[in-house]
């Protein structure tokens, strides 16, 4: 009798685990619960402007975390995200206001730098078989240094006006009552979702992340896949940086806090190193992180406490759904 009960319990536990693997059940539940806590405890939580400013913060985090998601799925990690976010903000600010470039030229130039930097990350780590963490750390330091030298120590100039309206709570996109950055994020999420799940490139990425040797045997062009991941990461980070310029970015070091925050969004969402997860989870991760931040701010907790809560949050979340296999199962 007891064995049957135990077996049933085991089976039901596996059922939840199976569901969790296919669908980010716990993440959705956590988001709903946290949001409801806000509704109950914070006055003015459901107003349009609060909602929109939450979405804007989540969108910045989500766009910055999109590239990291792709790199992490492919089995790497990108520590140069912060530098590329800074680069996007600094280029759009300085090129348009000091050098009087048209906006499109400044954007094209920033993204070209991102492609070059991302390719440097990917090619160097792949060709010389160096840990991507180390390479991206070096490329990030180089980029930060070049930016500092180029602007001469401090940024003079103001970001173009349209970057402010892109992240303003009162704007709308072509009549849809959403700030442009949120609309961009939705489009990005749909594209990333489709590319990762339905295209050859996406499947190659997962395969490469799960087992690079098997991927090569299956005729995946591992070098291309790996490098493309880093290029996409750099481009999206730079893009987030351009949008961030209107939100107090556009300064040296403006992107630095986003390195660990975007990585947190990826991990809280449930994407793990080497082929487990997808971009929708990062979207949820960015939303959860945003709601938590707003909750803590509304209850007047200091930044110190906020960071400690971030740490504990990741710990709880990973304990629930992101653990590794036991060593005796891998022998």
């Amino acid at each position: 009798m007891t064995t049957i009960t135990a077996a049933r319990q085991l089976a039901s536990r596996h059922l939840v685990a199976d569901l969790q693997r296919r669908f980010p059940l716990l993440q959705v539940a956590a988001l709903v619960v946290l949001y409801l806590v806000g509704v109950v405890t914070v006055p003015g939580w459901t107003t349009h402007s609060t909602l929109m400013s939450m979405l804007i913060m989540a969108a910045l985090l989500g766009i910055a975390g999109a590239g990291q998601t792709i790199v992490v799925l492919g089995g790497g990690i990108d520590f140069s995200v912060g530098a590329f976010i800074t680069a996007g903000g600094v280029f759009i600010t300085v090129l348009t206001s000091v050098d009087h470039w048209p906006a499109w030229a400044a954007i094209v130039f920033s993204l070209a730098v991102a492609v070059a930097g991302g390719a440097l990350n990917g090619v160097t780590s792949f060709r010389f078989r160096i840990e991507p963490l180390v390479v991206t750390l070096g490329v990030g330091a180089l980029l930060d240094g070049v930016l500092t030298g180029w602007v001469g120590g401090a940024v003079n100039g103001t970001p173009p006006a349209w970057t402010n309206s892109a992240v303003s709570v009162t704007t709308s996109t072509f009549g849809i009552p959403l700030p442009p950055i949120v609309s961009i994020w939705i489009v990005l999420a749909v594209i990333a979702g489709i590319v990762l799940a339905r295209t050859r490139a996406g499947r190659s990425l997962y395969l490469n992340g799960t087992n690079p040797v098997a991927a090569r045997r299956a005729l995946v062009r591992t070098g291309w896949t790996w490098t493309a991941g880093f290029i996409v990461s750099a481009v999206l980070a730079t893009f987030a940086g351009i949008l961030l310029a209107g939100e107090g970015g556009g300064n040296l070091g403006a992107g630095d806090p986003y390195l660990f925050q975007a990585l947190t969004a990826v991990i809280v969402g449930g994407t793990m190193f080497g082929g487990r997860g997808d971009y929708w989870r990062t979207v949820l991760g960015a939303l959860i992180l945003t709601v938590v931040t707003y909750l803590l701010e509304a209850h007047n907790y200091s930044t110190g406490v906020q960071e400690m809560v971030y740490g504990l949050l990741i710990m709880i979340v990973v304990a629930l759904y992101g653990r590794e296999r036991k060593i005796r199962d891998r022998v």
């Binding site: 160096i130 180390v134 330091a141 180089l142 406490v305 710990m315 992101g322």
Partner: protein
């Protein structure tokens, strides 16, 4: 020459450090003057120890890494300056044990998260990074706490004829040397090389890994004390910088991030290279605003050469 460089993972960093040392002395003859050594070593010590403290976790393999070393040193610095000294608890008999115990405890928690709870090392120590940075910010408050006492001032200059910075670095190296007399270091290399094989051969992989993180934390405790001695204040925002620079020093010192090879002494040379690069850039005629770029470029090239040399001797598996 190439063979020498390839068979010893630390050799590249050693050669580079010697070249940079000569460059420093040529650019600034006062650098070679022994009366300046205590100050130089005091500034170098927290930086070198941060790098050394990051090494055991990486050597334990399985993607092992500890990105909470910088914040841990900052918290220890902060607690000494803001809590211990103002309450008259500045005696070395209280402060030193506190640093060692607090550092080792945080390291042990990291190790337990990684092994017993099976967290990915980057994730586990990222959590710890957030918690410790938050703690440091919380203790710091709105006014940067400041303070020092007679023996920490000596630690940032010298005890009699012995530079204080040398003492803290030597303490760390002596602990490691002591461990090298036991089976622990061999077990650590075995675990880092292939954890499943080490497990099958009877190595207690869990214990070896927890100890690796604990030792890293213990070293960070000493590093926090060295940091406090030289800064004489608590600054929460420096934490991340120390973490990233330390990892670069580890890579430069020829330690593979896969855990298959590496050494503490290599990390020490790697940290020396990075310190000497910064120093030579500030004395040579590089414009201030461009020194970061030159630093970043040199760092990238050095890391690529070092890791490339280390990889060249590895058997290609795929």
């Amino acid at each position: 020459m190439t063979r020498f460089l390839r068979t010893r993972p630390y050799a590249f960093a050693l050669v580079l450090a010697v070249i940079l040392l000569i460059a420093n002395i040529v650019a600034q003859p006062a650098f070679g003057n022994p009366s300046n050594w205590p100050e130089t070593l005091a500034i170098f010590a927290p930086f070198a120890i941060a790098a050394i403290a990051s090494t055991p976790a990486i050597m334990s393999g399985g993607g092992g890494i500890d990105i909470s070393i910088g914040p841990l040193m900052t918290v220890i610095d902060m607690v000494i300056v803001a809590d211990l000294l103002p309450h008259g608890l500045g005696s070395p008999w209280i402060v030193v044990p506190f640093c060692l115990v607090a550092g080792a405890a945080v390291g042990a928690i990291n190790g337990t998260l990684v092994t017993v709870l099976r967290f990915q090392p980057v994730v586990a120590t990222l959590c710890m990074n957030f918690i410790l940075t938050g703690l440091a910010t919380q203790i710091e408050g709105s006014v940067t706490p400041q303070g020092s006492t007679w023996w920490t001032n000596d630690l940032s200059s010298s005890f009699g004829a012995i530079p204080g910075g040398l003492i803290s670095i030597a303490a760390v190296l002596l602990i490691w040397f002591g461990l090298s007399r036991t089976a622990y270091l061999r077990n650590l290399y075995a675990t880092g090389g292939d954890d499943a094989a080490a497990f099958s051969a009877g190595v207690d992989v869990t214990r070896v890994r927890i100890l690796a993180y604990t030792i890293g934390g213990l070293f960070a405790g000493i590093g926090g004390l060295a940091l406090m001695a030289v800064l004489k204040e608590g600054e929460a925002s420096d934490a991340t910088m120390y973490t990233l620079v330390a990892l670069a020093a580890v890579a430069l010192g020829g330690t593979a991030f896969t855990g298959k090879r590496g050494s503490l002494i290599g990390t020490l040379f790697g940290a020396a290279c990075m310190y000497l690069i910064t120093n030579v850039l500030s004395t040579a005629n590089v414009p201030d605003t461009w020194s970061d770029a030159v630093y970043g470029g040199l760092l990238l090239i050095a890391v690529i050469i070092s890791a490339g040399l280390a990889n060249a001797t590895q058997v290609r598996t795929a």
